[in-house]
């Protein structure tokens, strides 16, 4: 017997079956990121970017998409803890906290309240109240990833300790020294949308920006570069000086030094200097280095090129970080020597990500009281006497300010799942302020808005953003861009001494697109999504260059041990990475989390924590370790969970690329050949009604993987775990193929694996990469349809290749006959099955399921449906509103998620749609058009801005 429980009193705006959309802010970014949450019957089921904001352009990255699951995480702490014992009474918690903190104050010891450095104004005022309430209280910020090199350099150069607003949309030439700005650096979603706007040559404007990347590891950004040069990160300062000198020679500025300049392999410095000089005032030079001296040098280069006021805006800074290691180091020392007696960790987890966790742990053992507010029981909260869990960001009121004067508002999109309380309330209560228990943070946020921002509150909450120019004009110490001058000098000696070669291998710690810095990485979607570059799911590993691997006798997957002065890992697999510079190893942070896990799955003890390797050479920490690194083979081999095992296109034409020069000379380059096509079947008449199609611009696609996660959420795609991925049973409906070609910088590039294997290992550094997202092509002559014995897959009058699960008997003929290999077979029942203990296996996690899409069972095929549920609902909406369907009404999850607009979806029968225009573009082609499957997906030739 099935029951139905209607509301007793239905809220006015809730209609069962109709989604509501709320603009709010994504908490994955501490500085805030504007998003829109789709809510069905009171539960959020999907997050997307807020296209009203200039920061997002409607896109959202993989980790932002995945973060919705952290709301429905069974690992969340359901009640506050006092000394490890659950209580449901927050008054008890407050009494305990206030008594303890008062005792510390009376003792004359200091209290630290540790928050992420980007607090947003409301949390900041709560912290201020707290600090004022307790004698000796101090606000200390902590970020796992430090940008203090940039911050300190700007303080030295301009007297402002800020991260400037980098505007890639205003740069014709982009030179990045190691900064992975499309994947993980500062604000990748925004950078992606700005960057890709300039990367797409069109019929009217056959131009694109020039992107040169100089780096040691192969980052997502590096894979997108037109020219990529390799350097060892220890030598970055020398190369920057060489670049400065090369530019100075031309502009007439004084040389930094007379000798010691170094050229990059392939005359990189010369080429970079030439490109930059051709685009003065229209270029951008950035560096990932966390060394102040390097960043000062970068500032000087940008100043010489006239980039301030153009691509770099120092007056409207990006407020993602103001972190300074010095204060936190002082806290650790203070805890150990007893000057600090209490710590409140506000959503920070340094015991996981701080480089000297043992010192911190000792310090925390000394402290009289440790309080944590994290949502789960994590590394740091295990030391906490009181654990007062914060609300999830989707349950919270807040105001964030990612860009000066650009506010993003958070509003709860769901009532609290657990007995948690927002930290801005907690801090105010602990500071002795009266906080209404009913209105709580709502009142605090609304008051802040009225007093400090002003305007229409309802409109602000509706839009989710507010850009306030009045605040901008009052920015303290604003400097006219034209008047901007440098107060800093480049410390040549410091840079030179920092670049001394020890002959040791170097270890570079980096972030991956999925797990990022690890804060939000206990999430299956972050790991089921393959790394864009290596295509490995679920693990971290030591990346090593081919020549080094050969020298050390290490093969792909061999287990190695790695150690530095500070840290070591006994056993970790090694991965031979093309494009990586020799003499350098790479290791991703964000793994090795140790939270109190209630589920038994692959996220438990996943990977190794790399943060202990971080060093503190000066006042900034460094993720580049240049000495004392030892690597040894320890025996054993590890099988990576790979979603792609062949790396080259073998000279075939399903992936087409050309240079900008070739394209300018002949826009149809690579697409000239027309095939003699034969069809065995009758044509479908698709001329009336809709004919859905998709375009994928490989020039705009950065390979970030946001579409993969977005699709999984929208279409209830199960998480299958590491072992199933090893058996090639991943269920993703969209995959991003990543192809390498080698030797591109000296003429003809090699795309055949046999040639590459025969060539010398040196060639492996010289790699070019193309990403090709592949999903069901919805062929109008679909090979899958003709072989299905039970007509479970058929063609619709709107050109969709339909998959009918309940008809499927699982012969897998269709999968075998699909030339694109996009069909996935459900080998098991992945829902309510303890073998797959992810979110499909518990009541809370299942709340994220999309109620409009079937949860497939064992034994059936499935594949991309072009998000037919969205098409159907868009059509129905148009019918109800008595209007024609307009372009963009029906959207697929992948197209919506893409931060760089690489995926365009629409009706090919509508002459005014974007897809119709793209279909006529000279760059457009069908994948494998020679087999005449007549796909509905068009790809656009990848154009590289090189000769």
């Amino acid at each position: 017997m099935k029951h139905a429980l209607p509301y007793l009193e239905k809220p006015d705006n809730v209609t069962p079956g109709i989604p509501l959309y709320y603009a709010t802010s994504c908490g994955v970014y501490n500085e805030g990121f504007p998003i829109v949450a789709k809510v069905r019957e009171g539960r959020p089921i999907k997050l997307d970017g807020n296209d009203k904001s200039t920061l997002s352009n409607g896109g959202l990255d993989a980790i932002g998409q995945a973060s919705i699951l952290s709301l429905y995480d069974v690992n969340r702490l359901p009640n506050p803890l006092i000394k490890g014992v659950e209580t449901n009474n927050w008054n008890e918690v407050d009494k305990e906290v206030i008594n303890k903190l008062k005792a510390v104050s009376v003792e004359g010891k200091k209290i630290a309240v540790v928050t992420p450095s980007a607090t947003g104004p409301v949390l900041q005022s709560a912290v201020n109240n707290f600090v004022n309430a307790y004698a000796g209280a101090e606000h200390i910020s902590y970020d796992p990833i430090s940008y203090s090199g940039i911050l300190d350099a700007n303080e030295a150069s301009f007297g402002k300790r800020v991260i400037p607003n980098y505007q890639f949309s205003k740069a014709d030439v982009i030179v990045s020294f190691g900064a992975d700005f499309l994947g993980t650096w500062i604000s990748p979603v925004r950078f992606q949308s700005d960057y890709s706007a300039k990367r797409v040559p069109t019929a009217d404007n056959r131009k694109m920006s020039l992107h040169i990347q100089v780096e040691s590891l192969l980052s997502v950004t590096g894979t997108n570069a037109d020219h990529r040069f390799t350097m060892q990160d220890s030598q970055e300062g020398i190369y920057l000086m060489s670049l400065y000198n090369a530019l100075a020679k031309n502009t007439g500025a004084t040389q930094l030094r007379s000798t010691g300049d170094k050229e990059l392999p392939g005359n990189g410095i010369k080429q970079i200097a030439e490109a930059l000089l051709n685009a003065k005032g229209r270029s951008l030079v950035i560096s990932k280095s966390n060394n102040k001296d390097h960043q000062v040098l970068v500032n000087h280069i940008n100043m010489m090129l006239g980039n301030y006021g153009n691509a770099i805006d120092i007056n409207k800074p990006y407020l993602s970080s103001t972190y300074s290691e010095t204060k936190f180091e002082a806290l650790v020392a203070g805890l150990q020597n007893g000057t600090f007696g209490g710590v409140v960790f506000v959503n920070t987890n340094p015991l996981y990500s701080y480089h000297n966790a043992t010192a911190l742990e000792k310090g925390l053992d000394n402290a009289s009281v440790v309080i944590s507010t994290s949502m789960v029981q994590d590394e740091t909260s295990s030391k906490a006497a009181v654990h007062a869990p914060d609300n999830h960001f989707l349950e919270s009121w807040d105001i964030k300010e990612p860009l000066k004067g650009h506010f993003v508002f958070s509003q709860p999109v769901m009532t609290r799942v657990f007995n948690t309380r927002q930290v801005i309330e907690s801090l105010n209560i602990w500071a002795g302020s009266q906080v209404s228990s009913e209105e709580g943070s709502y009142k605090l946020v609304k008051e802040y808005f009225a007093n400090n921002i002003g305007g229409d509150w309802k409109q602000a909450i509706h839009d989710g953003i507010a850009e306030v120019s009045t605040i901008l004009s009052n920015v303290e110490g604003e400097i006219e861009n034209a008047m901007l001058s440098l107060n800093s000098t480049v410390d040549v000696a410091a840079i030179e001494s920092g670049a001394k070669k020890t002959g040791d291998l170097e270890l570079i710690l980096y972030q991956k697109v999925g797990p990022r810095d690890g804060t939000w990485s206990v999430n299956p979607w972050c790991h089921e999504m393959p790394d864009p570059v290596t295509k490995v799911c679920y693990d971290n590993y030591v990346t090593i260059s081919k020549p080094d691997a050969e020298k050390l006798g290490i093969a792909n997957g061999d287990m190695v041990s790695i150690s530095s002065k500070n840290a070591s890992i006994d056993k970790i697999p090694a991965l031979v990475q093309p494009g990586q510079v020799r003499g350098t190893l790479g290791l991703a942070v964000g793994y090795g989390r140790n939270v109190n896990q209630k589920m038994d799955n692959d996220l438990r003890d996943l990977g190794h924590n790399a943060y202990p390797f971080v060093e503190m050479p000066g006042s900034s920490n460094s993720m580049v370790i240049t000495s004392g690194i030892k690597i040894e083979k320890v025996g054993g081999n590890y099988e990576f969970a790979l979603t792609q095992t062949h790396d080259t296109i073998e000279g075939r034409g399903h992936l087409r690329e050309a240079t900008l020069e070739e394209y300018k000379a002949n826009p149809k380059v690579r697409n000239e050949h027309s095939h003699h096509l034969i069809s065995l079947w009758n044509e479908h008449d698709l001329s009336t009604g809709h004919h859905w199609g998709m375009a994928i611009d490989m020039n705009a696609c950065t390979g970030c993987g946001s579409c993969v996660v977005s699709c999984s959420i929208e279409n209830n795609v199960p998480v299958v775990g590491r072992d199933e991925v090893r058996r090639r049973r991943e269920m993703h409906w969209i995959r991003i193929d990543r192809y390498y070609s080698f030797g591109g910088s000296n003429g003809k590039s090699m795309t055949r694996q046999n040639d590459v294997d025969a060539a010398s290992a040196d060639l492996y550094e010289d790699v070019e990469v193309v990403y090709q997202p592949v999903m069901c092509q919805h062929c109008d002559h679909a090979p899958c349809e003709t072989v299905c014995p039970v007509l479970a897959t058929t063609h619709s009058s709107e050109g969709l290749n339909q998959m009918t699960y309940n008809r499927c008997i699982g012969t897998k003929y269709c999968g075998n006959n699909c030339p694109y290999k996009v069909r996935r077979f459900n080998w098991f029942r992945y829902n309510m099955n303890d073998k797959y203990d992810y979110h499909f296996n518990n009541e809370l996690g299942r709340m994220v399921l999309n109620p409009d899409v079937t949860v497939r069972s064992r034994g059936v095929m499935e594949k991309c449906s072009f998000c037919v549920q969205n098409i159907q609902s868009a059509k129905l909406k148009a019918k109800k509103e008595n209007r024609n369907l307009s372009d963009g009404d029906a959207q697929t999850a992948c197209a919506k998620a893409c931060p760089s607009n690489a995926i365009i979806f629409g009706d090919m029968n509508d002459p005014n749609s974007r897809i119709s225009a793209i279909k006529k573009d000279e760059r457009s082609y069908h994948m494998l058009e020679e087999v005449n499957t007549a796909p509905s997906v068009v790809y656009m030739t990848k154009i590289r801005n090189k000769k």
Partner: protein, 283 residues
């Protein structure tokens, strides 16, 4: 998870119970027989031959044991199969005539029939949402805050009182009770489409202009609602074949309509408009 095919423990429990009882009966019968045989051995005349030995045994002993076994097995399989089939079909909503008891004996005959209340007054989401929705209790209260059938002693009718108990309304003072712990009404779903089929009420009600009664039967005559239609795919498809799409009065169809007119087509059924395609309902 109360009612999936796999977890229906009641059926299994009943089957096990029947099996155990049969075994016990068998053992008891065997013991009795043995005792009687012992008696007969001692004194052949003492036990009167039973009805079984007199009447049934002479007939049964003539039967071929193989055929008898096969017939019995076939009988069990057929009965079990019918039961299992019906159970399985009900699991996917094939249960025409299904008329379960509801927590409140709500009569559509009184409301929709006698008082002629429009269906969509209560099922207000039918024209704009996927679900027609069982109305929330505050919809009932729109009338029943005032409309109260009382018996001779002045007590509110039991059924109306159930609404009050759910939402927290005091009939005597005609006021909502402050701080009342509301108890949702646990209605029994009658129309259950399986998860694999997507059905949208608004498409049919607002766009297709299908009468509620077409699928739900003479609902205004039902004291107790039962499932009128089979809700099987053949039934859906049949209607899609017969009904035409009204393209005249909706701008959405404008382009398609002029296109079809130019091809000389004036009538188009739902089926011809793609209404039989799998992906319209199964995704």
């Amino acid at each position: 998870m109360s009612s999936t095919f796999y977890s229906s423990s009641t059926l299994v429990a009943v089957l096990i119970l029947i099996l155990v009882l049969l075994i016990i009966a068998g053992i008891l019968y065997g013991i009795e027989n043995n005792l009687k045989n012992l008696l007969r051995d001692k004194d052949p005349g003492s036990v009167e031959s039973s009805y079984y030995q007199r009447v049934i045994k002479p007939v049964v002993s003539e039967w071929n044991p193989t055929i008898v076994t096969l017939v019995v097995i076939a009988f069990v399989v057929v009965i079990g199969g019918i039961y299992g089939f019906k159970f399985g079909m009900e699991e996917v909503g094939v249960q025409q005539g299904y008329s379960p008891d509801q927590p409140i004996n709500f009569s559509h005959k009184i409301h929709a029939g006698t008082h002629k209340i429009d269906c969509q007054y209560c099922h207000s989401t039918a024209s704009n949402s996927r679900h027609a929705s069982i109305p929330s209790a505050n919809t009932c209260m729109n009338c029943h805050a005032g409309v109260q059938k009382r018996d001779a002693d002045g007590n509110v009718s039991v059924e109306i009182q159930k609404i009050y108990d759910a939402i927290g309304f005091d009939a005597e003072t005609s006021k909502y009770i402050d701080g009342y712990e509301q108890k949702p009404i646990k209605w029994v779903r009658i129309h259950n489409l399986p998860d694999l089929a997507y059905f949208n009420h608004s498409q049919h009600v607002a766009i297709g202009k299908v009468e509620c009664q077409t699928c739900h039967g003479p609902i205004e005559e039902m004291d107790k609602v039962f499932q009128f239609a089979t809700l099987q795919m053949g039934w859906c498809v049949n209607c899609h074949r017969q009904r035409s799409v009204d393209m005249e009065n909706n701008k959405y169809y404008e382009d398609l309509h002029s296109d079809l007119k130019s091809k000389g087509k004036h009538y188009i059924s739902v089926a011809e408009n793609g209404g039989l395609e799998c992906g319209k309902c199964h995704y």
